[in-house]
C-alpha cells in the first residue's frame, strides 16, 4: 500500500547549521491494512519520514508510492488530490481555534469542494464515531487533549482516506487518553480498512497497536519486520527494545542462571521438559511475559540446579532449541 524506495532527505546547510541528512537511503513497505510503527530516538528522522509519505517534505532522492500511485512523480495539482487520500494527525493536534469541532472536521471537505449539507452530515457522523456527539459546537480550547486528538482524527478521516499518518499522536497526552486514542486508531484502521503509519518514540505504543515495526537510527533503518517476527529474534535491536533483557541476572546461590526468550506461551512446557529429561530443578527467578503483536512473548530468568552434567545437558538443550541464552554457569 505504501512503498518508500531509497528515500534520502538532506536539509541544506544554512547560516546557523551545517547540512543535515535526516533520512539516508530508507526503504520501507507497509502492507494494506497494517499498522506500521516507526520508532527511534528523537532526531532519528521519524517525523521527516512521515512528512515524506505525503510529501510535506519532498525527498532529495527516492520514490514514494501510495496505493499504486507514485507521488514523487505527480505535479502539484495531482499531489493535492493524492493528499486527500492520506489523512494525517499530529502531536499538537493542529486544530483551528477559530472553528468549532464540527467546522474543523468540515475543513478538508470544504477544500475538496463538498457541498454544505453533505459536509455537515459527514462531519457529524465522524464526530459521533469518535465519541464526541455532544461536542459538535465546542471550540478546541474547551476540549481536553484526548478530545482534541479525536476531533483531529475525525478531520483526518473526513475525506475518506486510504492511509492514516500519525506523527507522535499520543506524545502530548496523559496515559489514559493515550490508551483510548490508540484503541481508537486500531479500531478505525480495522473498520475502515485503513493502512496506518504510526510514528512514536514510545515502545509500549508499538506493542499495543502495531502489526509491524521499523526502527530508525540516524536516518537509517536499523531493524524492521512484523512484530511477532522481531520479538522472536531475541538479539535483534527491536526485540531488546520490545522486551528489554535483565540488566543483571539474579543471584540464585549454587544454581546456574540463564535468561531465555520464549514465544507463544511455551514457557510451561519448556520447564516441565527440562525437569523431565534432565532431572534438574528449574526455578523462575525473574522475567516478564507480554503480548506482542497478538503473540505471547517472555524473557525469563531461570535458575537451573542439580548435578553438573545434568545442568550442562539442560543448558545445551535450551541452546539447541534456539532460545537465547545468556548467563553464568557456576
Amino acid at each position: 500500500m505504501i512503498t518508500l524506495s531509497h528515500i534520502t532527505k538532506t536539509f541544506p546547510a544554512s547560516r546557523r547549521s551545517p547540512a543535515v541528512t535526516a533520512l539516508d537511503d530508507v526503504s520501507l513497505t507497509v502492507a494494506r491494512g497494517q499498522v506500521m510503527g516507526v520508532v527511534g530516538p528523537s532526531g532519528s528522522g521519524k517525523s521527516t519520514l512521515a512528512r515524506c509519505i505525503n510529501l510535506l517534505e519532498r525527498p532529495t532522492s527516492g520514490t514514494v508510492t501510495v496505493d499504486g500511485e507514485e507521488l514523487t512523480a505527480l505535479p502539484e495539482q495531482g499531489l493535492r488530490s493524492a493528499r486527500r487520500r492520506i489523512g494525517m494527525i499530529f502531536q499538537q493536534f493542529n486544530l483551528l481555534d477559530s472553528r468549532t469541532a464540527l467546522a474543523n472536521v468540515e475543513h478538508p471537505l470544504e477544500l475538496a469542494g463538498v457541498g454544505r449539507a453533505e459536509r455537515r452530515a459527514r462531519a457529524t457522523e465522524l464526530l459521533e464515531r469518535v465519541g464526541l456527539a455532544d461536542k459538535l459546537h465546542t471550540h478546541p480550547a474547551q476540549l481536553s487533549g484526548g478530545q482534541q486528538q479525536r476531533v483531529a482524527i475525525a478531520r483526518a478521516l473526513a475525506p475518506r482516506p486510504r492511509v492514516l499518518l500519525c506523527d507522535e499522536a499520543t506524545s502530548a497526552l496523559d496515559p489514559v487518553s493515550t490508551d483510548s486514542i490508540l484503541a481508537l486508531i486500531r479500531q478505525l484502521t480495522e473498520e475502515l480498512e485503513l493502512t496506518t503509519v504510526l510514528i512514536t518514540h514510545e515502545m509500549p505504543v508499538v506493542k499495543r497497536v502495531c502489526d509491524a515495526v521499523t526502527l530508525l537510527e540516524h536516518g537509517r533503518v536499523v531493524d524492521a519486520g512484523l512484530l511477532s517476527e522481531v520479538a522472536a529474534r531475541p538479539d535483534s535491536p527491536l526485540a531488546t527494545r520490545l522486551l528489554p533483557p535483565a540488566e543483571r541476572l539474579p543471584d540464585a546461590g549454587t544454581a546456574s542462571v540463564v535468561e531465555v526468550t520464549v514465544g507463544d506461551g511455551t514457557t510451561g512446557s519448556l520447564i516441565s521438559e527440562l525437569v523431565r529429561r534432565y532431572g534438574v530443578d528449574v526455578d523462575v527467578v525473574g522475567g516478564a511475559v507480554e503480548s506482542i503483536g497478538g503473540t505471547r512473548f517472555g524473557r525469563l530468568q531461570l535458575a537451573v540446579d542439580g548435578p553438573a552434567d545434568q545442568v550442562r545437558g539442560a543448558l545445551d538443550h535450551l541452546a539447541l532449541a534456539h532460545l537465547e541464552l545468556q548467563g553464568s554457569t557456576r
Binding site: 510535506l56 481555534d97 477544500l111
Partner: protein
C-alpha cells in the same frame, strides 16, 4: 467667551469630518495593507511561496513608508493628493496621505498577526490538500482574526491622531477646528472640548476593537 450657538454646529461638523477621513482612510488601508501584509508573510523565507527578492523589496517599501514622519509625508505627497482629489485642502484631500501612511503600518501589524499562527496549522491544511490561497483564506486570516482586529484598532487610533495633525495645514476635521477656533483665537475652553471629543472617539474605537477581538478569540 465661547459662543456655543455659533461654534457648536461647527464642532459637530468637524467631528463628522474626522470620522469621515479616518473611516475612509481605514477602509482603503485595509484594502491595501492586508494583502501587503499577507504578501510579506507568504514570500518570506520559509513562507508558503518564498520569493526573497520580492520580499526584500516589499519590506523595504514598507519600512520607507513607516519611517517618514507624517507631517513630512503630508507635504511630500501633496502632488499625488492634488492628482487624485484635485485639491490639497480639506478632509477628502487628507484621506490620501492618511492612507499612504496607514497602509505600511497596518501591513506590518498584519504580518506580525499572521506569523503568530502556529506553523502546524498550516502544515495540517497542506496535508489536507489545501492550495496556498486556501491556506491564507481558511487558516491564516481566520486564525489571526483577534490579532488582526487588535491591529486594525491600533491603526484607527493612529489615523485619528494623524488626521488631527493634518489640521495644521488645513486638512479639516477636529485638528483643524482646534487650531482655528481654539488655538488661534486663544479659546482654551474650546481647545479642551475638542480634545475631549477626540478622546471620546478614540475610547469608543478602542473599546469596540477590544470587545470584538475578545469575542473572536476562542481561548479558554
Amino acid at each position: 467667551m465661547t459662543n456655543w450657538d455659533r461654534v457648536g454646529p461647527q464642532l459637530l461638523e468637524a467631528s463628522y469630518e474626522t470620522v469621515y477621513m479616518c473611516g475612509v482612510a481605514m477602509g482603503l488601508s485595509i484594502l491595501l495593507g492586508v494583502p501587503l501584509g499577507v504578501l510579506l508573510v507568504v514570500t518570506s523565507p520559509g513562507g508558503l511561496k518564498p520569493r526573497p527578492v520580492a520580499n526584500a523589496v516589499l519590506g523595504g517599501l514598507v519600512n520607507f513608508g513607516r519611517s517618514l514622519p507624517f507631517i513630512i509625508l503630508l507635504v511630500l505627497v501633496a502632488p499625488v493628493t492634488r492628482l487624485v482629489t484635485g485639491t490639497t485642502i480639506g478632509s477628502t484631500a487628507t484621506i490620501v496621505p492618511l492612507t499612504i501612511s496607514a497602509t505600511p503600518f497596518l501591513a506590518r501589524l498584519v504580518e506580525t498577526a499572521l506569523r503568530e499562527v502556529t506553523p502546524g496549522k498550516v502544515e495540517a491544511a497542506l496535508a489536507m490538500g489545501a492550495r496556498r490561497r486556501d491556506v491564507v483564506r481558511t487558516v491564516l486570516l481566520p486564525e489571526a482574526r483577534p490579532s488582526l482586529i487588535a491591529g486594525a484598532t491600533v491603526t484607527i487610533v493612529a489615523l485619528i491622531s494623524y488626521s488631527a495633525m493634518a489640521g495644521a495645514i488645513g486638512g479639516g476635521g477636529l485638528g483643524d477646528f482646534a487650531i482655528r477656533y481654539g488655538y488661534q483665537r486663544f479659546d482654551t475652553t474650546l481647545t479642551i472640548v475638542t480634545v475631549v471629543v477626540l478622546m471620546a472617539i478614540v475610547q469608543v474605537v478602542q473599546l469596540t476593537g477590544d470587545r470584538l477581538a475578545h469575542r473572536l478569540a476562542h481561548r479558554s
